[in-house]
């Protein structure tokens, strides 16, 4: 373990301050009693939280966001797992092509994807539906799901499923009793990662959203563009709290370090 020198300590302090300062400011403003953006020196109040929860559009968009994120994460894992099992375990013609295709969305800028999705979804008459939002988020998040699952599968000892087979397990039994349980932490890690990515995603969603179907980030973005009041801060605090909670769970079951740095945690 490297010891922190005064210089690196100062650097880390500055970094954390710059990252945390906006979050803290927003969180404080959310509790103001004033009707404009102000730090809550004149009095603490929960009125903006009440106003957010009274806002039907906030609740509707939160519901859309949760639905989209749950379906995106679940479908993403369900689609990626078989592909990743094939890529991670076998050599076959077209293996690299499949791998490249699954990772392809990463280098494409979100705004380009957004415009493309808008055009495509309008063409097939899906624009402004929850289903369209799910499909778009699926494409945006699948590279990350694939990466996480691939790391988990490549780390699996090949002789373990072989041992199970030699003991009489069919391919299905090996998958259910051995492979799946051993991948459990990787799968849940991938699921939560996809959920968070979808839940926070704005660039693509802004193109695919409609007046009736919008996600939470889109709602918030519109709210801020039309006129700012502390309820936006209150909504942000709710989102921050939710995300923080999810990250906490993710860290507990999978290890954030392994997820983000790609370092294999000893277990």
């Amino acid at each position: 373990m490297l010891r922190n020198t005064p210089l690196s300590l100062a650097f880390h302090t500055a970094l954390v301050t710059f990252v945390m300062a906006p979050l803290i400011t927003v969180s404080l403003v959310a509790f103001t009693a004033e009707s404009y953006l102000a730090l809550p020196w004149s009095g603490l109040s929960l009125r903006w939280f009440r106003s957010v929860f009274a806002d039907r559009e906030f609740l509707a968009s939160a519901w859309v966001s949760i639905q989209v994120a749950v379906f995106t994460a679940t479908l993403g894992v369900a689609l990626a797992l078989p592909a990743v099992l094939a890529i991670g375990r076998y050599q076959f013609p077209g293996r690299d092509a499949v791998n490249a295709l699954l990772l392809a969305p990463i280098p494409v800028p979100g705004i380009v994807l957004g415009v493309t999705f808008l055009r495509f979804m309008t063409q097939i008459g899906w624009n402004g539906t929850v289903a369209a939002m799910i499909v778009c988020h699926l494409i945006v998040t699948i590279p990350f799901v694939v990466r996480i699952l691939l790391a988990a599968i490549v780390g699996l000892d090949k002789s373990i499923p072989q041992a199970a087979q030699s003991l009489g397990a069919s391919r299905l039994a090996v998958f259910r009793r051995i492979t799946l349980p051993m991948l459990a932490s990787g799968i849940s890690g991938a699921w939560i990662m996809a959920f968070l990515l979808s839940f926070d995603e704005l660039t693509v969603a802004i193109f695919v959203a409609s007046t009736s179907v919008k996600t939470l980030p889109v709602w918030l973005f519109e709210k801020i563009s039309w006129g700012l009041d502390p309820s936006a801060c209150a909504a942000s605090v709710l989102i921050i709290a939710g995300t923080f909670l999810a990250m906490l769970i993710l860290d507990r079951i999978y290890g954030l370090e392994r997820l983000l740095v790609g370092k294999s945690a000893e277990s």
């Binding site: 373990i160 072989q162 041992a163 030699s166 003991l167 009489g168 397990a169 069919s170 051993m182």
Partner: protein, 351 residues
């Protein structure tokens, strides 16, 4: 027909030939080792018997039934892997019981058999532990119990002891041998460790370049190697090229003392004489076959090991049982001979 019959097995990976026409008959209850350096095809052969790899040609039959087309999970073959391959998310008891679950053995019978298997490997007290809570030796025993509990027709051991430290390895060798005898299970061991192969096997198949170069009981293979490769791989050997070492060795004296008829063996392809280091004996100059100078002397506890520099030949290894302190310090001149019957003649391969 033998119990396990490998006939003309071939396996190639694109252009690389891993196993090149291997045939082997193993009797019921026999313990046979496949011994060879890495890349000799021994592990590939084991994987073909297990069913993890499909032979490119040839057949494998167990008890008269060809099993090449039988899937892995229907072969009834127990395997112990080098890294044990225990299921990390299952307890010791569930690891051992897995094969019985797959066979839908009723719970009461299953539990009794798991307990008995764990008793056989002295792990009955650790049934509730997880693999990562066990030492290497204990994991090894779990792997063995897991393979044996299904009462397989054949037990395959893939370098099972190579991850254990030396002391534990010797203990496990003895235990493994006793257990195998007691159960009378037909066993194939893959190893690159000649000591392990000799300690455990009824017969050793020394492999080289995808083929079996010699198949013999350990003592036979050690005493009568048929090729220079086997002589060098099964233990240490002094190999004298008869034609080339006439300047260093007094062949006429060997012939007079009734040694192998060297001149007859010479022929066109030449011949090698193999003398094991422990068969070499120090003697007086008048009865010596060769003479040299002690280059190094190493004390091994049970024996002294000398490297003797012999002019016009090279280095000769001599092992002398430790009966007393050695007076042959480095640099002293020594004379060597051996009993005529202790040398093995190896026909040359023309090289």
């Amino acid at each position: 027909m033998a119990f396990l019959e490998l006939d003309g097995l071939v396996k190639h990976f694109s252009s690389f030939v891993a196993v090149d026409g291997l045939s082997l008959s193993v009797e019921r209850g026999e313990f046979v080792s496949l011994l060879g350096p890495s890349g000799c095809g021994k592990t590939t052969t084991l994987h073909m018997i297990a069913g993890f790899q499909e032979p490119s040609a040839g057949s494998i039959s167990v008890d008269g039934v060809d099993i090449v087309d039988v899937p892995v999970n229907k072969r009834d073959i127990g395997i112990v892997f080098q890294n044990y391959a225990l299921f990390p998310h299952m307890t010791v008891a569930d690891n051992v019981g897995f094969g019985l679950d797959m066979r839908r053995v009723p719970k009461a019978t299953r539990d009794a058999r798991v307990r008995r298997a764990l008793e056989q490997v002295h792990l009955e007290t650790l049934a509730g532990r997880y693999p990562k809570e066990l030492s290497g030796g204990q994991q090894q025993r779990v792997a063995l119990a897991r393979a044996l509990v299904i009462e397989p027709k054949i037990l395959l051991l893939d370098e099972p002891l190579s991850n254990l430290d030396a002391k534990l390895r010797e203990d496990m060798q003895i235990e493994l041998k006793l257990l195998q005898r007691e159960l009378g299970i037909t066993t194939i061991l893959v190893t690159h460790d000649q000591n392990e192969a000799m300690a455990l096997s009824d017969r050793i198949a020394v492999m080289h370049g995808g083929r079996i170069v010699q198949l013999d009981a350990p003592y036979q293979g050690y005493e009568r190697p048929e090729t220079p490769f086997v002589a060098g791989f099964l233990g240490k050997a002094n190999l004298f090229d008869i034609a080339a070492s006439s300047g260093a060795i007094d062949w006429s004296r060997i012939a007079q003392s009734g040694g192998p008829d060297v001149s007859a063996a010479l022929g066109e392809r030449g011949a090698l004489l193999c003398v094991r280091p422990e068969k070499m004996a120090f003697c007086g100059p008048e009865e010596a076959y060769l003479s040299g100078v002690v280059a190094t002397r190493i004390f091994l506890g049970a024996s002294w090991l000398y490297q003797i520099k012999v002019a016009q030949f090279g280095t000769v290894l001599v092992a002398e049982q430790n009966r007393s302190a050695s007076d042959k310090v480095e640099g002293s001149a020594v004379h060597l001979r051996w009993e005529p019957g202790h040398a093995a003649l190896i026909p040359g391969d023309g090289q």
